[in-house]
Subunit: 348 residues, 2 copies
């Protein structure tokens, strides 16, 4: 099975479990207060939107790398990982003032419609908090022995701290131009932290040997870098047909992905002026986007970013081969990394 | 020792531990990225502002109710409880758009000064998340055996879910008038949840028997109701000299404490109009406040609220006497409850 079909198959198992989880949650909430039920109903819709379920599938698959079958307990943990992933997105959308997530309204936007913007933003602040709590509860009550649970809770809490530190830096860099060291500090705790949390959770629960845990930590970090850089390139270079949303969002928001940092270092005055102008306007025309893409190519920034993504992908593949996961799972992770590398070529 | 001197004494122990915790945290953060250090420095200042340290002292004292001495491990947990308390306040101030906390700038307001309002609010969103993570980490690494840690983490995570559900309702009730059942649902998970988390954490770690844990759960719930109602009365009825800030904040914000709900039910048209007018204006004059206080008295709402606070205080005291905590600690909790009851008489 190719990596995409693998994600489809295991993703649908997780979605089924997620639906039954939400159905219980909504029912219990409604007996407390109907509006809390409404909050959970909307969060259910938000988190069940079409997507790859990459994080929770990584947990399920790294678990399956060390065990043969999948029982209720690991699916409970996957629910926790999905909740974890989405509580981060709720606050991310809120701070980015993003109105959409996967083509539908973002969480704060859903609730702004109830009364006003402040109400929507308030529900998103408390709702995101709440969902992180629910994520931990899913892990705590998943049914695994206490020693393993403790390790996974430590991992998720550490990941949550890391991702929020990096979010603060990501926000700072909209206001204060970062250099490559700043960028590296930020990314090191951003995408890498979600891959670490999800892959290591599965491995720990699946009983991976200590040596493999250390290897997988490196695997996750390298996949994280490779994926994050590719994801940022997509945001600038993929067409709406390829990506599902209009390109150039990071540029408008003044975000500082690697290819923008490198471009800024080597750009001429006119190129910098255009970048700053677009950021100030909060809007980008097709012609402006094409011009900025030209500058990213001209300054060598696209090449630098692609090479860095590929380099981390290559390291990840070598390390995956050294683990004791079974071949099915090694193949999955390796071919996923290969896909990231290959897909870089789509964006010229 | 009276309850106030007890809080002063144990509060200063906790503050000392908290200062050394922050000093380590800031140092480590600065080696990651200087701005993360700045975030922690400001959070250190925010959480060390003058206050009673009621939550973490409740943990320390309920622990001491079952053990004789205080070691590093329980102080680490108290640090966690302080972080827990303050991460909730950071998001609470943010959603309430409160510019001040204990006479100084609120967390989002501190960071708004760096660049703009969106920056300040974003740092407060991610910063509050981060601090909850740090609270859990303090508990997880406190040094207690894993079985006890697991119980306490479960308790805090449950408390965090409860408090955030109640925060959503509290916000909703600014927009949609609640009845007494709505209010009860909200309060049941608000103040009660912090007392539950803090008192039970100490009792569990101190090795309280199961029967006492159940009793203390009821104690905490009743103290929570008694305290929450009194706290709300103070917000309307205490002078700035008594309370340290201008009265009437809840009224301006359209909050719905018990005395306002009961008043609304029995108020005449003019009284309701004044209440709505002040809420809409977001400002209250001295004369308007006096007039609303008159209505709260006239409609019997002040009496209803005071009696409910007292009733819960009386139940709490009876239950405290039934626990196996030592007499010093029983006296502390009982005299604190008695103080809440007595202080109700100051507000006429």
């Amino acid at each position: 099975m190719g990596w995409e079909r693998t994600l489809d198959y295991y993703g649908s198992l997780i979605e089924k479990r997620l639906k039954s989880y939400f159905s219980d949650l909504i029912q219990r909430a409604e007996s407390y207060h109907s509006f809390v039920g409404v909050v959970y109903e909307n969060f259910c819709e938000y988190s069940l939107r079409k997507g790859k379920r990459l994080a929770s599938c990584s947990t399920l698959l790294s678990y399956k790398g060390y065990t043969s079958d999948i029982k209720e307990d690991i699916l409970n943990v996957c629910v926790g990982i999905e909740l974890y992933r989405h509580c981060i997105l709720v606050h991310d959308d809120l701070v980015d003032k993003d109105n959409f997530r996967r083509g539908e309204k973002s969480f704060h936007k859903i609730f702004s419609k109830f009364y006003d913007r402040r109400f929507g933003e308030g529900v998103a602040v408390f709702g995101g908090d709440l969902i992180f709590g629910l994520a931990l509860k899913s892990i705590l009550t998943s049914g695994f022995p206490i020693g393993k649970i403790e390790k996974v809770v430590n991992l998720l809490v550490e990941g949550y701290c890391e991702v929020n530190e990096s979010q603060i830096l990501d926000l700072l860099f909209e206001y204060k131009d970062p250099d490559i060291n700043d960028w590296s500090a930020m990314v090191h705790k951003r995408a890498t932290s979600l891959f670490k949390a999800s892959i290591l959770t599965g491995a720990i629960l699946g009983g991976a040997p200590e040596h493999d845990i250390n290897l997988l930590m490196e695997v996750a970090t390298n996949i994280g870098y490779s994926f994050d850089i590719q994801d940022d390139i997509i945001d600038t270079f993929a067409t709406k047909d390829q990506y599902g949303r209009k390109p150039g969002r990071d540029i408008i928001l003044g975000k500082k992905p690697l290819h923008i940092i490198v471009m800024r270092q080597n750009a001429n005055k006119d190129e910098l002026n255009l970048l700053n102008y677009v950021e100030q306007k909060g809007y980008i025309t097709k012609a402006q986007l094409e011009s900025i893409k030209d500058s990213i190519r001209r300054t060598g920034a696209l090449k630098v970013a692609k090479e860095k993504s590929k380099k981390h992908g290559e390291i990840a593949k070598k390390l995956i081969a050294q683990t004791h996961m079974n071949n099915e799972i090694k193949d999955f992770f390796s071919s996923f990394v290969q896909y990231i590398e290959d897909s870089l070529e789509w964006y010229q």
